[in-house]
Each structure stands twice: as C-alpha cells, then as structure tokens.
C-alpha cells in the first residue's frame, strides 16, 4: 500500500478545481438572467431562471430566418461529430489496411506523403478545399461539411502501427483457413481493432463536434447551424444598448458539453475493457 501524501492530494484538488471551476461557473451562471449576470458578474450559486433559459435555448426560434432552434443546432453538431468519427475510422482503417497488407511499390513513400500533407492544419488548405466543394456544388450540404475533412493522417497512422503489431502468423493462419483479404479484414482485424476504434472515435467525435471554422465557411443556410456557431452568434448581438444573452450562451455551452462527455464515458469504458482484454 502506498501512503497517502497530503501534498499529492493538494495538487490533485487544485488541478480539479482549475479544470472544474469554469464549468461550474458556466452551469451556475446559466441559471441566472442576463441582466443579473451583466450587473453582478458570474455566479457560483444556482439561480431561479434555469428552466426557462434552457427551454428557450432548446426550442425558441432564432436567427435571421427564425428557424434555428437549439435542438436543430444540437442535431447538426451530432451529425458532424458522428459523421467525422465514423467516416474517419472507416477511411483510415481501410487506408491503413492497404498500406500494411498489400504489397505495392512505394507504399511507405505513399504513406509518408499522405501523412505530411495531412499534417497541415485545415486552415492552410481551407481555400482550395472550399473551391473544390463549391465547384462540386456541395456548399450547404452535410456531404460538403464532412467529407473534405475525413482523410485522417492521425487515424491512418494509429491503425497502421496497430496492424503492423498484429503477428504475421495470424494472417497466415487465416489464409490457410480460407479467409480472403476481405474476410481477414472483417473477421479478424476489425474485431481486434475495437480498442483502437474506441480511442479514435473519442478523439474524432470531439474534433467534429468542435468544428467551427469549416462550417462557418461552408454553409450559409441557417439550417446547417451547429452549436458552436450558435454560441458565437448569441454573443455577437451587441447592438445599441442590448445586453448579450449571456445566460443563453452559457446554457448552450453547457448543452454542448453533454454529448462529448457521454461519448468519452461510454467509449472510454470500451477502450479500457479492450486494453485489459486484448492480447494479440
């Protein structure tokens, strides 16, 4: 047994406070009215306007067209998150499979080429990507929102390393057992990759969920609004003597946190289970 050291606990408590306080402040402040927040600053105690604010945020129609509700934005963000996570996993797994198991010339060079180009952040290639999508007529569509960002260097790299660590004998046993390339992938590699898939799902879901710049540029139609844009647009309404709806921005932010938290909790369990169970 390790002795409990007070200093360790102090550090942990400080760390937890540091990470947790902003969230608590956001949650508590979202239950006060905008006026209260504007005059008294942020709150650490619950107020009485919570139910009303959250209901308004979720259902009230806003935006220029008056069609955008919190639920719609939540739905769009979910589509982005799930589309990203699933799409990236499928694409990077198949790419890594080809790179590792099919002996074609220049596979290594090809891999590094993919890798280096994709290391460039989206911002660098945002204009050409926009141009391509515009030419294809994919502005204001989920396809246009998701597909250009699917190719994932990180995912391909992780799956490549993982596949390389799978013993060759497994492939050979499968070949003798009459499993072709497709069956080997589906019957052996995919089940073995569950842990990797869970880990990448977490990362990519959050990446997609938090996208701001790309949806901002890609979509002009308000029905494609995501939560991230919603929060931003609330705070932008600073016209004349109008007070921004701080409470609504906080409520949206709190709502925006929930799905990623669920994803992390669920998939982390899968991830840890996979770690303790798998041996290749």
């Amino acid at each position: 047994m390790q002795r409990v050291k007070p200093l360790d606990h102090l550090v942990l408590i400080l760390g937890a406070l540091f990470m947790g306080l902003p969230v608590i402040v956001a949650l508590m402040s979202s239950t006060h009215s905008a006026v209260e927040i504007h005059s008294n600053g942020l709150y650490l105690t619950p107020g009485g306007d919570g139910g009303q604010t959250y209901e308004k945020v979720l259902t009230a129609r806003g935006g220029f067209t008056g069609d955008v509700t919190g639920l719609l934005m939540l739905g769009n963000s979910l589509i982005m998150g799930l589309g990203f996570a699933v799409g990236k996993i499928v694409l990077s797994m198949t790419a890594a499979y080809a790179l590792v198991y099919f002996r074609f010339r220049f596979a290594t060079i090809l891999f590094w080429a993919i890798f280096t180009t994709l290391l460039l952040p989206l911002e660098v290639r945002i204009m050409p990507s926009y141009q391509v999508m515009a030419t294809l007529g994919l502005l204001n569509s989920y396809t246009g929102l998701i597909v250009p960002l699917l190719a994932s260097a990180t995912g391909t790299f992780f799956f490549r390393q993982f596949f390389k660590s799978v013993p060759d004998e497994l492939l050979e046993a499968a070949r003798i057992d009459g499993a072709g390339p497709w069956k080997f992938f589906i019957d052996v590699l995919v089940p073995l990759s569950k842990t990797m898939m869970a880990a990448i799902f977490i990362i990519m879901f959050i990446y997609g969920w938090n996208q701001y710049l790309w949806p901002l540029i890609m979509t002009t139609d308000e029905s494609f609004y995501t939560l991230m844009r919603g929060i931003k647009s609330i705070l932008q309404v600073w016209v004349g003597s109008q007070i921004p709806d701080y409470n609504e921005a906080f409520a949206l932010a709190v709502l925006a946190m929930i799905p990623p938290v669920i994803v992390v909790v669920v998939f982390q369990r899968m991830f840890i289970k996979g770690l303790t169970e798998s041996d290749k």
Partner: protein
C-alpha cells in the same frame, strides 16, 4: 491422406539468399517426417513453401497427385500449426476451430460434430467457450492442433509447435502429437531444431544444413550411420565426439595411439566416437584427461580431452574418478569422415554398442 513429393525444390529470397537448395523427398501417405537442423538452415522456409505461404523459386511440390506450386494455401488441403499458436484472440476455442470450416461452407451440424470430436480427442471439451487468453500454453497448442484436425486435411504441417512450452509439457505434448498422428494416419511434416524431439517423433528424419539436405533416413539409421560429421555432431546427446585422426598401416591413429583397425585409404580423417561406445578400461587405447562430470542420475557424462581434443564418455558408475583415464573403443563403433568434405567414408555399418532406449 496423401503423399507429399518435393522435386528439386529451392528458394531464393529477394536479395539473393539461397534459403533452400535442391530438396528431393518423397513423403509417403501417413508418414511422419521431421525436418531438423540448426536455426536458420531453411526448415521454416521449406515448410512454408509446402504450405503455400512462400513462393517456390525452383522445382515442384506435389500434394497427392496435384502440383501445388501456384495454389493458394487454402486450396492445398493442408493444415498448419504455428509455434506461437496463431489463434484468433477474439474468437472462442470453438470458433477458432470452426473458422476454417465455416469459410469452406461446411454444413453447420457437420462443423459441430467435427469440433466436438476434436475437442474430445484433445480433452478440450470444458474450454470450448473460452477465449484463447484464458488458456495455458499447452491448452492453446492443443487448440491449434484441434484447428488443424477438424479440417481433416491431406497433410499436417508443424513449425516448431512445442518450442514455446516448458520442458515437461514439451515431452508430454510430443507424445500426444505422435499418438494423434498415428491414430488419424495423416501425412505430417514437422519442423524442429530440437534433435531429441526429431528422434522421438519421426518415422523419417530430414537433416538440413544451410538449405541443403544432409541426410534422410529413419531416426536410428541416422543415429547409427550419420552421413556426415555435421549430422554426427547434430544428432544425439551428448554430441558425438569428433577427433582429428589419421589412418596408416590399416589402423586409425589419434596422436601416437592406435585406436582400431580401419579399411579406408591412408590419410587424415575425422574420427567420430559416440559417448556410449567408449568404455573406461585400464588397458584402453586412448588416454583421457578428465575435465568435468555431468551427473544425470541414471548415468553420468564425463567430459575431458584426448590428445588435447574434446571427448565425452557416458558410464553408469558412481565412484570418484581419477584425473586420468584410459578409454577402450569397440572396433565396430568407429565413424570415419572425410576431413575436407565431412562425408562418411566407411561403408561397413557401424555396430552400436547399445540399443537406443
């Protein structure tokens, strides 16, 4: 069931490594043939060519009456057992065994019947629903064998299947493999670097050296009449002592000591002496300086030097030994090898002093 025929089979890896050279073997139906040789001599390469996991650069491989050189592993009607088991980690024992049959679209009830039968044979019935990671090494190896058995192939191929097991388990699994193979009567090709495993399992041994066949024969024939000094030193434990000697006046000499009569032409030779063919005797021909003694219980191995050359003797005594002994050699127990080529010289069969236990 089938024969396996290798004709002038060779393998050159990319980069020009000749891993296997000109191997010719006829494996009879139901025969258990063991490929043995030191690490890196090309055993796995040869086996994997038969399995179809490695392309054949030269020659022809037949299984039954089909040339299989270009067939996929799955179409060769063979089953293979790997050293590291290569079980599918995410499948239960039952699914591991059934996977190959499922891919062949074997009817469900037939799969169940065969898997249950194999599980009974291998005493795996209680573990059918476990994952491989919940099994011991020996059990995993049995599952790997079960996976081979349920396929009912023409031939079993084994690549050092027991090397990952501890010594005791290795001995019992060895017996089990032999028993199963006899019972099923399936032609088998078995790779090992362990000469004892090879001796005890094989109907016939193939000794490989640097990719080429050094000798093919029944274990006892190989033991009694090694075709070369390499085989002599490789097969048998303790290894046969090889001494620099010379033939003159119709006798074999080590230094100034005449050992026994010889019929081969005069000149330098390599003299091979099995430890059990030497006796300690006051009037023995060879003086030996004792170096150290290995006690094995039933017998002991005395290591020492004759004329500065290493030699080993087995005997059953337990008395303390003087530091200098004299060794007597049974004239029929000499093995003479050409110094340059290492090939066996005498054609007369060497008579063993004692039958192999």
């Amino acid at each position: 069931m089938a024969t396996v025929t290798l004709s002038a089979v060779g393998k050159t890896y990319a980069g020009g490594v000749d891993a296997v050279r000109d191997v010719n073997v006829d494996i009879k139906d139901g025969e258990f043939v063991v490929l043995v040789g030191p690490s890196g001599c090309g055993k796995s390469t040869l086996l994997r060519m038969v399995a179809g996991l490695e392309t054949v650069t030269h020659g022809e491989i037949r299984i039954g009456d089909r040339v299989v050189n270009t067939l996929d592993p799955a179409d060769r009607d063979i089953a293979m057992v790997f050293q590291n088991y290569a079980l599918y980690p995410h499948m239960s024992v039952r699914d591991n065994m059934a996977y190959g049959l499922k891919n062949r679209r074997t009817p469900k009830d037939e799969i169940t019947r065969r898997v249950d039968e194999a599980a009974r044979m291998l005493e795996l019935a209680p573990y059918l629903d476990r994952k491989p990671r919940a099994l011991s090494g020996g059990q995993r190896q049995r599952v790997a064998m079960g996976r081979a058995i349920v396929r009912q192939p023409s031939a079993f191929l084994f690549d050092e299947p027991l090397s990952n097991l501890d010594a005791k388990l290795r001995v019992s699994m060895r017996g089990e493999i032999r028993r199963l193979q006899k019972r099923l009567g399936t032609t088998s090709l078995y790779v090992t670097h362990d000469q004892l495993e090879a001796m005890t399992l094989a109907d016939r041994l193939i000794v490989l050296r640097d990719g080429a066949v050094e000798q093919i024969g029944a274990p006892l024939d190989v033991y009694r009449r090694p075709a070369s000094s390499f085989v002599a030193a490789f097969i048998g434990s303790p290894a046969m002592s090889l001494l620099d000697a010379r033939v003159a006046d119709g006798r074999v000499w080590v230094g100034e000591h005449a050992v026994a009569p010889a019929t081969v032409p005069a000149g330098e030779v390599t003299l091979g002496l099995r430890a059990e063919d030497l006796r300690i005797a006051a009037d023995g021909a060879l003086p030996m300086r004792v170096d150290y003694v290995e006690e094995l219980g039933a017998q002991r191995i005395i290591h020492g030097f004759v004329e500065g050359q290493q030699i080993a003797v087995t005997e059953t005594g337990a008395d303390s030994l003087p530091s200098d002994l004299r060794l007597a050699v049974d004239p029929g127990a000499l093995h003479l090898f050409d110094v340059a080529t290492g090939r066996r010289m005498d054609e007369a069969a060497a008579q063993p002093a004692r039958e192999l236990a």
